[in-house]
Symmetry: C2
Subunit: 207 residues, 2 copies
């Protein structure tokens, strides 16, 4: 197996952190996003959407989409469990993970891609007013998550799961490119959770 990936990109980081939590190492093939390698004919043959990460299996098949790659790696390396022990827990962790994706990760990405000058080549055309509105939505949703974390230690409940990885990578994306600091917004529970996750050894994977 070989993982096509890139440093300092939020989706590859989710898989890197997932692998670090499980102690998985894979052959890595770096894709140079800065040089536009993800738009090269060679890489589009790997993933027609030009996105990283992508996992090339030994039988030649290519598995794309961050969360699908995690599903596969969880099957190969079940411990520690990060996506649910049975279908009921899997469903509730999937709910939490999707909320992090839809209401934090995607909203931060929309904000950054449509308002940050560095993303003009990637997001063409940019809609800065849309980006700014998404930034507001991100702050609203961060406030909702702060309320969740006032009641429970982790995003999906009592234990660390893939939903914490998704949320942490979204928060760190927003930290870098939206200068978002929960404590400055009065979100003490979110800040405390963020600092606890940042202290895990896996937090530096993929950076």
């Amino acid at each position: 197996m070989k993982l096509y990936t890139a440093p300092r990109a939020p989706n590859p980081r989710r898989v890197a952190m997932f692998m670090a939590e499980k102690g998985i190492t894979l052959e890595l093939q770096m894709v140079d996003l800065g040089a536009g390698e993800h738009r090269s004919e060679r890489y589009l043959a790997v993933n027609p959407f030009g996105r990283v990460p992508a996992l090339a299996l030994d039988d030649g098949r290519i598995l794309c989409e961050t969360r699908a790659i995690c599903t596969y790696l969880e099957g190969l390396h079940p411990a520690p469990n990060l996506m649910g022990e049975d279908f009921e827990e899997r469903a509730f962790i999937e709910m939490a993970d999707r909320r992090m994706e839809l209401h934090l990760f995607a909203i931060a990405a929309n904000c950054i891609r449509h308002s940050h000058p560095g993303f003009a080549p990637l997001e063409n055309p940019q809609f800065p007013a849309f980006g700014a509105a998404q930034g507001e939505k991100f702050r609203d949703n961060a406030r909702w998550l702060d309320g969740v974390l006032a009641r429970q230690p982790y995003v999906a409940g009592e234990r660390f799961t893939i939903a914490d990885i998704t949320a942490f990578c979204a928060m760190d994306f927003a930290r870098g490119l939206m200068k978002f600091r929960p404590a400055e917004q009065g979100l003490a529970h979110l800040q405390a959770w963020r600092d606890r996750i940042a202290a895990r050894p896996s937090a530096s994977a993929g950076t």
Copy 2:
């Protein structure tokens, strides 16, 4: 169990079609989106994001997010299998399903919510230029899917899965509100697939 849902809305339709394929019936609680019931205090206590569907379990817990609800229902009613028999198949179906969600369903929703006057109360502010650009992206991605369906009969491969449901509901959303017809775009494989899925008894569920 009780399913909070609404007629003629694309995410509730995904769950309705999934249930119809498995022969599942549940107590339904209709949420009147036209009257703004999903924004009522009572419904926000069910789902703080004000979205349908949501599944209330007998123990009082609420499971939200369309695909997480399907994961749960697949666990309770394994046959016919729609999400993968083992972790490897689950990962590949998840990849296909996410592509349908991200590259068709979400793009159509962005286009419609930002450009259709009927959605002005829901998407505030609307960004019509962003909506139009998303419409273009939708057509590009439909062309990609047409190529996939030239090589295989179903979205995820050789058999009908949840990814066909997601794609079909996205296509029908675009059919109703973007007047999108694959055949008119020269996408014969996509049109033939669409017509085959539309002929399944489950296709009218949730409409």
